[in-house]
């Protein structure tokens, strides 16, 4: 039998056997459907990408209020749309390195203050125009000027000046930053003709697919752009992004073959769904984390002893098992995990300990009045359950937690970053510097734990200017210790991206940066 299987997989690799024929023959040999499916996927991968077919996504995270303007992207469907029609200057590769896209190469000055992007020549926009360094400059200006409402505005702040110079685009920073290329890989920074100054929502970019139908909240259809600069990107004739916000409808659509890829598979159904023969559930460890945040400058959380008491009173493993159903890893009260470059794995894991919790609680001298934890379902999936589990273990340590349910609607404007203790989530960032600069720098707008430690800020800037990776790693390790032991962040868990992919597709690779292979499914996968 083995010989026959080997022969058949060779035929698949040579493109002589279709999936249907392969499965049929394998079944005749007594191979189970799941096994045959895996064999076929391996063989198809060896055969290399094939062109053609219409790819359909079924995605959570789209609304009829969505715009194609990259500056407004804040959820999954707009993110995915941007990846179809647009390119950034550079992209973060699955291994965490920087991969060239519209920039062929990037070079920093010795002091990491001036960065020069050498732009690819002959890149064509979907409207027929050729991309110039002016377009790049205008794009970056639109995301960083005073009128900007861009989601990338925060990361563009450290820029002193930018200039377009022939084939080059140059950025000068106010302070040195060794991670600037990572900032330029942000998914908002899609290069648009004339920077999108005139019509930002037109959906015109340089991406492998061009916009055909735009029905926000319903579907977005893209067709293959023949003149894309990289013929290896984009194996499909068309890509359709269907908005399916209901989790049950999404899994039904994948099971019945109406769509080929879905995001946000609910952990509680992931195991069951994975048993279906025609699809695979992929779980990818990412940088996103579910958290409870305390304001370090508001009583009673201004007492570090109380913060430590709460940090010890949460049973991390239980949360990972019950809330994430195992699709995640435990956190260590800092926003960084092993998915980040320059992560120090030797920082000790904080353990669940009722004795220590009780001890710290006693030292804090808290008067015993209930500590109010605000939570809504929308804070993160399972947030209310997680809070209830937290309340139980805290009570065992003698800490009175009181859960206050808040409506999903308005949670991010009325509760998060406003109330002193609430549930929240972070999507993670490609590098440590960006994560810390976004939410732990004293002056950061989103410093949602009110963590204001001058020594920490100093180390952050010091690490930025440091080009020696060993020294940087050392500084980041110290910063990690600091947030873990003094910060207002209770980080019980890092969640995986759990996604369902049809077995008709081949070429999956795990990418921790963002969900759906960092938006590269339509570029890199193909119909086997």
């Amino acid at each position: 039998m083995n010989e026959q299987i080997t022969h058949m997989t060779k035929e698949v690799t040579a493109g002589k056997l279709t999936r249907r024929e392969f499965m049929g023959k394998a079944a005749a040999l007594g191979v189970s459907a799941a096994m045959a499916s895996t064999l076929f996927a391996d063989a198809a991968r060896a055969a290399g990408p094939k062109k053609g077919g219409d790819l359909k996504f079924g995605l959570q995270g789209g609304e009829s209020t969505n715009s194609l303007d990259p500056a407004t992207y804040a959820s999954s469907v707009p993110f995915q749309n941007g990846k179809q029609f647009g390119d950034q200057l550079v992209e973060v590769a699955p291994d965490g390195s920087i991969e060239p896209r519209l920039a062929e190469s990037v070079e920093g000055s010795a002091d990491a203050k001036v960065w020069t992007f050498k732009l690819r020549q002959g890149v064509e926009f979907h409207n027929g125009k050729t991309m110039t360094s002016e377009d790049v400059l205008k794009t970056m200006e639109r995301h960083s000027n005073e009128d900007s409402k861009s989601g990338a505005l925060g990361i563009m702040k450290g820029i002193e000046s930018m200039k377009a110079d022939g084939d080059n685009f140059q950025v000068t920073l106010t302070e040195p930053n060794a991670d600037l290329p990572y900032l330029m890989a942000d998914y908002h920074l899609i290069v648009q003709p004339d920077g999108g100054m005139d019509n930002p929502g037109a959906g015109i970019g340089t991406g492998p697919y061009q916009l055909e139908v735009d029905e926000p909240g319903v579907r977005h259809v893209f067709k293959k752009f023949a003149n894309h600069w990289n013929p290896d990107f984009g194996n499909f004739d068309s890509v359709e992004v269907v908005v399916i916000n209901d989790a049950t409808a999404r899994t039904a659509a994948l099971q019945s073959g109406q769509v080929h890829a879905i995001n946000r598979v609910e952990p509680k159904v992931a195991d069951l769904l994975g048993r279906a023969p025609n699809l695979t559930v992929h779980s990818t460890a990412g940088r996103g984390h579910y958290v409870f945040i305390m304001h370090c400058d508001t009583a009673p959380f201004d007492q570090n002893e109380l913060r430590l008491a709460l940090k010890h009173a949460i049973n991390r493993q239980e949360l990972v098992d019950k809330v994430l159903r195992g699709y995640g890893t435990i956190g260590n009260d800092m926003p960084i995990n092993a998915a980040y470059p320059l992560f120090d794995g030797s920082i000790p894991q904080r353990e669940f300990s009722l004795e220590k919790a009780a001890e710290h609680y006693k030292k804090s001298g808290h008067d015993g009045s209930p500590i109010i934890l605000r939570v809504a379902d929308g804070a993160f999936p399972g947030a209310v359950d997680a809070a209830a589990l937290f309340q139980q273990t805290a009570a065992q340590a003698g800490i009175p937690l009181e859960i206050k349910r808040e409506p999903n609607d308005g949670y991010w404007s009325e509760v998060w970053n406003v109330q002193p203790f609430c549930a929240s989530y972070w999507g993670g960032r490609p590098v440590q510097d960006q994560m810390y600069a976004t939410a732990y720098l004293s002056t950061a707008d989103w410093n949602d734990t009110r963590f204001k430690v001058p020594a920490f800020d100093e180390m952050l800037f010091q690490a930025r200017a440091e080009l020696d990776n060993d020294k940087r790693k050392d500084i980041y390790s110290q910063m990690g210790h600091m947030v873990r032991d003094e910060g207002g962040l209770i980080c019980p868990m890092f969640n995986d991206f759990v996604e369902g992919i049809s077995n008709q597709l081949a070429g999956w690779e795990s990418d921790p940066t963002q969900e759906m292979m960092n938006g590269n499914v339509s570029r890199k996968m193909w119909f086997a």
């Binding site: 009128d147 579907r219 916000n245 039904a252 609607d409």
Partner: protein
């Protein structure tokens, strides 16, 4: 002026006034919700700077009354304006969604209304015997189960297991009528099951009421068959309450099906409205609200007029 014409014009004028009141109410309520469109759009990523820029761009810095009357002025000229969040023309996007909603409601009504009335007549014909009991039991069961559950059950067994029909009721302009009907089959079935009982029970009760009358007894003595008596003599006299309940259900089919839309991912008005309420996109919420109110008021008016026309005593007042 003919009394019927007078009545219709009076009702129309009253309806317009109601619409105005409804729009003011909707505007006031949306304004009263915490947060505004700028905050909702930026969400967790809101910085004070970006927030201010976006408010300026959306024109949210102007007083609420100014914005309301501007919107009203536009509406009078037939201009619904632009969505705050994605800058699309509201009339265009609402138009597409509305026609989808009406399409679904139409086919659900085409199936459910005649079926409900027929089942009602059948129940009266076999009153208190097993067909009557069976009809009541089945329809009351389906109305008691939440529609999303019926939806999920149908999706799982019919679409996923049997492979009939599609679990997603996605329709678009490039589909033929046949494809569209195939695509909306499951939601139509769910909606039919949900509205059937109400109309069927009302038909049954109204006709039974009339069946006590002397003229029905006369008809019986004339030797007419049972079904003919119901159909020819009882039904016309029971039309008023039946039309009322039918119109209520039609209004529900247009206005109240957001849950079914979500389950079947149907691109109708309900989900569209909910999205824009969450984003505090006031002009769109107003447009949808006014359309929904207009449909509700219109259908109720039709019910009243039909009830009057069906009753000779009201048709020819002294």
């Amino acid at each position: 002026m003919h009394p019927i014409l007078k009545l219709v014009s009076q009702r129309l004028a009253l309806g317009l006034l109601l619409l105005l009141g409804a729009s003011a109410l909707i505007f006031g309520m949306t304004e009263a919700l915490p947060g505004d469109a700028a905050q909702a759009v930026l969400g967790q990523s809101a910085t004070p700077e970006a927030l201010e820029n976006l408010r300026e761009e959306m024109g949210l810095n102007r007083p609420a009354l100014t914005r309301y009357f501007e919107w009203l002025g536009g509406l009078v000229q037939g201009d619904l304006g632009q969505s705050l969040t994605n800058k699309l023309d509201i009339a265009e996007s609402v138009g597409g969604r509305l026609s989808n909603t009406l399409f679904l409601a139409f086919w659900a009504a085409v199936i459910s209304v005649p079926l409900a009335i027929f089942l009602g007549l059948l129940a009266v014909r076999y009153r208190n015997r097993w067909p009557d009991k069976l009809i009541s039991a089945v329809t009351l069961t389906t109305i008691s189960i939440p529609e999303f559950l019926i939806g999920y059950v149908l999706v799982y067994f019919v679409a996923v297991k049997l492979g009939m029909f599609s679990p997603l009721a996605m329709i678009n302009d490039s589909m033929t009528l046949g494809q569209k009907l195939n695509s909306i089959a499951l939601p139509v079935i769910v909606l039919t099951l949900v509205v059937l009982a109400h109309m069927m029970r009302m038909t049954r009760a109204a006709i039974l009421n009339v069946m006590q009358s002397a003229y029905v007894e006369t008809a019986e003595l004339k030797g007419l068959t049972n079904f003919k008596i119901i159909y020819r003599h009882a039904l016309p006299n029971a039309v008023a309450p039946i039309v009322n309940v039918v119109m209520l259900n039609l209004a529900y089919l247009v206005v109240g099906v957001v849950v079914v839309e979500v389950v079947f991912v149907y691109p109708g008005m309900g989900q569209y409205l909910v999205d824009h309420v969450t984003k505090r996109d006031v002009p769109v919420v107003l447009a949808c609200g006014v359309i929904f109110a207009a449909i509700y008021i219109g259908l109720n008016m039709v019910a009243d007029i039909v009830a009057i026309l069906a009753n000779p005593r009201l048709r020819h007042p002294k």
